[in-house]
């Protein structure tokens, strides 16, 4: 029952934000050519060192790698899920929408203790990060987030019972 209520609360908040500010649901990937400031900065950094070390870190794959890691860690951005990206709404290229009621962050962190998430969620995350803009598609994260929050409530309940004894 609790799981169902939780699921409704989370999907309700998240879904409402998508209705209010619809996502583009774009399937474009990170493999698009670099232009403008991104390209200029990359070229500038490439020119700052001539050692072989530089070639390992600044090569053709670097721009894609940077985009991928930005998306991957962006999908793990706890502040974007609970606080609409606050306090860093200044990060460019990201959509900040408040997805869940912020107080759920307490059971979320509590739920990380003794939590077993299947590797399929990590794979889902890794795949989502390939998209140029995962906004909207990241709705899939409702499930693991909900499971963690649910586990958090279970942990809190146990802790509270132990405290009362």
């Amino acid at each position: 029952m609790r799981k169902l209520v939780l699921f409704i609360i989370i999907i309700g908040g998240w879904g409402w934000s998508l209705l209010k500010e619809p996502s583009h649901w774009s399937l474009e990937t990170i493999f698009y050519p670099a232009v403008g400031e991104e390209k200029r900065l990359f070229e500038e950094k490439k020119g700052l060192d001539i050692s072989p070390v530089k070639r390992f870190y600044y090569n053709k794959a670097t721009i894609y790698f940077n985009r991928y890691t930005a998306n991957f860690f962006g999908l793990l951005d706890v502040n974007s899920y609970f606080f609409g990206g606050h306090p860093r709404e200044d990060v460019s290229g990201r959509v900040f929408r408040p997805k869940m009621f912020w107080l759920l962050v307490v059971p979320f962190f509590w739920g990380l203790w003794r939590m077993r998430l299947g590797s399929k969620w990590w794979i889902a995350l890794a795949v989502l990060a390939v998209l140029r803009n995962p906004d909207g598609w990241d709705l899939i994260m409702v499930v693991p987030m909900g499971l963690i929050i649910d586990n958090g409530f279970t942990n809190l309940e146990q802790w509270w019972r132990r405290l009362r004894k």
């Binding site: 950094k45 700052l48 060192d49 050692s51 070390v53 530089k54 390992f56 870190y57 890691t69 930005a70 991957f72 860690f73 962006g74 793990l76 951005d77 706890v78 502040n79 974007s80 609970f82 606080f83 606050h86 306090p87 860093r88 200044d90 990060v91 912020w102 962050v105 962190f109 990380l112 203790w113 003794r114």
Partner: protein
């Protein structure tokens, strides 16, 4: 035979670890970060001033807090620099060496904690290695900030408290002394250190308050109180509480609910993988180019470490999780998102967690685990080398106030009878004072020996004078009609203005990107009067 080989490998490993940690912290420490930021210079100058005159820049004799820019700096770093400058002389390298040594001691401290809590050699080594290669810790181990000193004192304070439970109880007194000193050394420690002390107290309450140990507790508390002596001297002044004023509950906008929401979002940011591995600290002086606080590949090891932690004793869990939770409390009260300087204490539990996770992999996959971890550290070292030594200075030299040492060198070349006006950033007066090595006597007229109000007024005059160098804003209508040399910052003077006011170049200082960042020009009052508004042309 096997034991002997293991011992040799251990010693060799220790040597390599410290060579690497030392190289990342000492290599070009005077030039990287390029420049000597005003806060660094203020700490160093006050140490130098104490050495030369026994007074700080304002003329206050051996103060318990330094008024500095009106924000009241903690005293320990400046005081420790007094004997160091006496022995090795005054320089940027020497000033930064103290934090370098402090950083290396912190690594040893974390290794000792890892050994005490996890009792496994791989975790000891790997925790030390993680901290040695953590960009977050390296940054503050290469720049003159009190926070790194305070962190090392905190780590060793906890080591002493913990070891006092098993060995001689005298360690408690040393531990209390070190923890008290960390409070004297850094403002943020006033919140974090007592909370860490509370963790220790809760975990060991039975032992601490047993009849056998009472006298040792009394001794330890007394030592702590004595070490807090500089705090007692100023605790009732506004200067002591000045930094408390920046917390969001004092300055926040909106109602209580909004402020709690704001604080919660700031606190959560300190536990956010996006900030740890990608965004880092947005401040120009708080990160290296293209490096966040930790390497992205360390995320799975935090997860493994977290999982492994569940198998440890409740005591160890309480320490690691507790430290992780209390470390950013003070930082989260300020509006800066992910202030790495104020939350530096987090590097301890994070190093231990990553080390624990890596230890798990090494123990599970043996040689393959070792190879993978060695490879990752190798990749990490290369990344650090490029970011720290090849890239950061090019992009961040302005943040670190690069060029003022060169300005001071040019000033020294100018004949003594020519007055000089510096019109760059107001705060740069302290770097000029430091690099010109002017003792207090030169500037006392400007600052006065206002000892009675020293800790309360926060007075910071607009116009300063270091010898013949005035530091203030330019008054165009007057200053171009005085025979003097005017030094402008990067945006202070255009070529057209120089032509219009008949200003002749005396020197130029260029930044690491080749652009002019300081421009020293000589006025020509007679010619300017003669030419009037027409100016002097090309």
């Amino acid at each position: 035979m096997v034991a002997k080989i293991e011992k040799i490998v251990s010693i060799l490993g220790m040597v390599v670890l410290f060579l690497l940690a030392g190289w990342l912290r000492t290599n070009k420490v005077g030039q990287v970060p390029a420049g000597f930021y005003a806060d660094e210079a203020a700490i160093a100058y006050n140490g130098y001033s104490l050495l030369e005159t026994g007074r700080d820049e304002y003329g206050k004799s051996w103060p318990a807090l330094f008024r500095s820019f009106g924000e009241y700096k903690t005293p320990t770093y400046s005081y420790l620099l007094v004997p160091i400058f006496k022995i090795w002389g005054k320089s940027v390298v020497v000033a930064r060496d103290l934090t370098v040594i402090s950083g290396l001691l912190a690594i040893i401290g974390v290794m000792v904690l890892a050994k005490m809590w996890f009792k496994r050699w791989p975790v000891l080594w790997l925790s030390g290695l993680v901290l040695a290669l953590m960009s977050w810790h390296i940054l503050y181990s290469r720049s003159v900030y009190e926070v790194n000193l305070a962190l090392t004192m905190t780590i060793w304070g906890v080591v002493c408290l913990e070891s006092g439970l098993k060995k001689t109880r005298w360690n408690w007194a040393v531990g209390f002394g070190l923890l008290a000193m960390s409070i004297v050394t850094y403002n943020g420690a006033r919140v974090v250190t007592p909370l860490l002390g509370l963790i220790w107290l809760i975990l060991n309450r039975k032992e601490i308050f047993s009849n056998n140990n009472r006298k040792w507790v009394v001794v330890a508390v007394l030592v702590g109180l004595v070490c807090l002596w500089p705090v007692w001297r100023v605790v009732a002044t506004t200067g002591f509480w000045e930094r408390a004023g920046i917390n969001i509950f004092n300055n926040g906008q909106g109602n209580s609910y909004d402020r709690i929401w704001e604080w919660a979002s700031l606190l959560v940011a300190y536990f956010n993988p996006f900030y740890w591995f990608k965004l880092g600290d947005p401040g120009g002086r708080s990160s290296w180019v293209d490096l966040a606080l930790m390497f992205g590949w360390q995320l799975p090891f935090i997860a493994f470490g977290w999982k492994r932690l569940e198998k440890e004793s409740n005591r160890v869990i309480f320490w690691v999780v507790g430290w992780l939770l209390v470390a950013p409390v003070a930082a989260s009260l300020t509006r800066d998102p992910m202030a790495s300087i104020r939350s530096l204490s987090m590097v301890v539990p994070l190093s231990l967690l990553i080390g624990l996770g890596m230890g798990e992999i090494v123990e599970k996959y043996k040689n393959w685990g070792r190879v993978i971890i060695f490879g990752l550290f190798l990749v990490g070292t290369g990344r650090l080398y490029l970011s720290i030594f090849k890239m950061t200075d090019y992009y961040r030299f302005r943040d670190w106030d690069y060029g003022l040492a060169q300005v001071a060198r040019e000033v020294k070349k100018i004949p003594e009878n020519i007055p000089i006006l510096y019109t760059g950033k107001k705060i740069n007066y302290i770097q000029l004072a430091y690099f010109l090595a002017k003792p207090l006597g030169y500037i006392e007229d400007n600052y006065g020996r206002n000892g009675s109000d020293y800790y309360n007024t926060g007075w910071w005059p607009d116009n300063k004078k270091i010898g013949r160098v005035e530091v203030r804003e330019i008054v165009w209508k007057e200053d171009i009609f005085k025979d003097q040399i005017i030094i402008f910052g990067e945006l202070g003077l255009e070529q057209d203005q120089a032509n219009e006011h008949c200003l002749a170049t005396v020197f130029e200082i260029r930044g690491l990107d080749g652009k002019r960042i300081f421009w020293g020009v000589r006025t020509n009052p007679e010619l300017k009067r003669l030419m009037g508004d027409r100016g002097c042309g090309e």
